[in-house]
């Protein structure tokens, strides 16, 4: 801070207040975000067991070891598949929900809330609910398949590596679509009604209106949602921890 106090001399009245106003955030942020981040970077070049005072500098060997590790490759592959599929499905689902809610005539706010409810859940709770719904023996999903006469389609949705990824993807779409729907809805409400009216007078069908009017005007929202869902899918942790480890031995391999 010493440096910063010397800098502005022209505006007499500001510096003291500015410093006092910025100081709390600055101290907190520096000590609990920047300091640990920098030391984390430093630690990545050292050999350290996490407890002992013995920290040796070993250069890039940690990174080399990671590049060779089969487990890391597997985790990276899983994350990549998950993120790409999630970004696409979440956005398609969110846009579809937003279009429906935007056009529905009755109980619009109720529908918006219902689609948004899953966003309010924590990853742990959500992962847990789906673990039970998809349980092989008592799960509601298999029970529903039974009732519909589709017993052949029953599967161990989370235990079987072939289905685990799919189950995780679909349940995550369920959880997050509502969040992006709100952003798309805000975008849709910003599009003037006259445009689609004019288009329909000119004889444009629903699909044509969507392609040439709605979608281009939503471009901003699409970008925002894509970026946000990319960030969120790369950070995903709680629900996967619960859904793949919660009482089960097998983990999704693919």
């Amino acid at each position: 801070m010493a440096k910063t106090t010397a800098a502005p001399k022209k505006k007499r009245k500001w510096p003291i207040f500015a410093i006092l106003f910025i100081l709390p955030s600055f101290v907190l942020y520096t000590s609990f975000v920047i300091v640990p981040t920098v030391s984390s970077m430093y630690l990545s070049f050292t050999s350290w067991d996490g407890v002992s005072p013995d920290i040796r500098f070993i250069g890039l060997s940690n990174f080399q070891e990671m590049l060779r590790s089969e487990r890391v490759h597997n985790a990276l592959r899983n994350t990549l598949i998950l993120s790409v599929v999630l970004v696409l499905l979440e956005n398609v689902a969110a846009l579809a929900l937003a279009m429906l809610v935007d056009q529905v005539r009755w109980m619009r706010n109720l529908f918006r809330s219902v689609f948004y409810f899953p966003v309010l859940l924590s990853g742990v709770v959500m992962g847990f609910i789906w673990t039970i719904i998809l349980n092989y023996n008592f799960g509601v999903f298999n029970q529903l398949l039974d009732m519909l006469g589709l017993a052949a389609a029953k599967a161990d949705w989370l235990g079987d590596p072939d289905f685990a990824m799919l189950s995780i993807i679909l349940s995550t779409v369920w959880k997050s679509a509502g969040y992006y729907m709100i952003i798309y809805l805000a975008g849709l409400q910003g599009i003037p009604q006259e445009l689609s009216e004019a288009a329909s007078i000119d004889g444009a069908g629903r699909m044509q209106q969507f392609r040439h009017i709605t979608f281009p005007l939503l471009a901003g929202s699409v970008t925002v949602c894509m970026v946000l869902s990319m960030i969120n899918s790369l950070k995903i942790f709680d629900q996967i921890a619960v859904m793949t480890d919660g009482g089960r031995a097998s983990r999704p391999k693919r």
Binding site: W14, F32, G50, S113, Y116, P118, S122
Partner: protein, 275 residues
């Protein structure tokens, strides 16, 4: 019926069906919280036979759940309170001073937005131990507030640009100090911004899992979400307990959401556009 009404009905039915699918898992959870374990095992879909409250009773009297609820409430409330005191102050000074050094601090704050918590949590953990904060509620609170600085400043500075300086200048003419001007005049004008900060961070803190799990001491009650995570392992065959526990974490959020719907929706759309 003309074509338009038919269309409306089709859209309504499609939305209704989707809404049922979306709401079902939550409804299923809340409903199952009132069933006994035997009832759940026998028929998962059936409605509860009566209001079975034993699992709530057990959780609230025999386990650490009440202490965990208190912890969750304290963490959320105190972190949010500190955030809405410190962050707008910093953002105000940065935006209004607009000198080289404040612009630098602004960029410095923003740089942290890109760093995920997981990448610095181990040194942070050490640091908390060194400061003697490990195991206290202060640790997660400080971490939450620090983590919100970047995004919060971005949100507030862009909002402040739209507030005319003349208001503050006239207050200063009338003899208000900078401090009083900020709290009496500027802060109330920042209301919409504060609402979205509260909604976005409040939900995140209430639902957080990784941090309270790491930073709060083992063997003592942590937060609701962490306790639920343990119950999933501990009571793996007692689903009634788990349903009751999750129901207790969902219901407060649902109630707050239904009361403050407007702010949630606004918070997300402004948060997304500014972020």
């Amino acid at each position: 019926m003309n074509k338009a009404t038919v269309n409306d009905i089709v859209i309504f039915i499609a939305t209704l069906l989707l809404a049922i699918v979306f709401f079902f898992p939550i409804f299923f959870n809340l409903m199952s919280a009132f069933k006994s374990n035997a009832e759940i095992m026998r028929d998962a879909i059936a409605f509860p036979e009566g209001f079975y409250l034993d699992s709530f009773n057990y959780l609230l009297t025999e386990t650490d759940y009440p202490a965990a609820i208190v912890n969750s409430l304290i963490l959320t409330a105190v972190s949010i309170a500190l955030m809405i005191v410190f962050i707008p102050m910093a953002a105000y000074a940065i935006e209004r001073t607009n000198a080289k050094w404040t612009n630098f601090i602004f960029l410095f704050f923003l740089s942290g937005m890109m760093v995920p918590f997981q990448s610095y949590m181990i040194p942070l953990f050490k640091e908390m131990k060194m400061l003697g904060l490990y195991g206290t509620l202060a640790a997660p609170i400080l971490i939450y507030v620090s983590g919100a600085v970047g995004f919060g400043c971005l949100l507030y500075t862009s909002f402040l640009k739209g507030i005319p300086r003349e208001i503050e200048e006239s207050a200063a003419m009338d003899g208000c100090s900078r401090f009083v001007t900020f709290w009496r005049i500027v802060f109330p004008l920042l209301g919409p911004c504060t609402a979205s900060l509260v909604v976005l961070n409040g939900l995140g803190i209430w639902n957080d899992f990784l941090m309270p799990m790491l930073v709060l001491p083992s063997g003592k009650p942590k937060t609701m979400i962490v306790e639920i995570f343990y119950y999933v392992g501990e009571f793996s065959s007692r689903w009634d307990m788990i349903f009751a526990g999750t129901a207790m974490s969902i219901v407060p959020v649902l109630i707050v959401f239904l009361l403050l719907q407007k702010y949630f929706v606004k918070g997300i759309s402004t948060g997304a556009i500014k972020g």
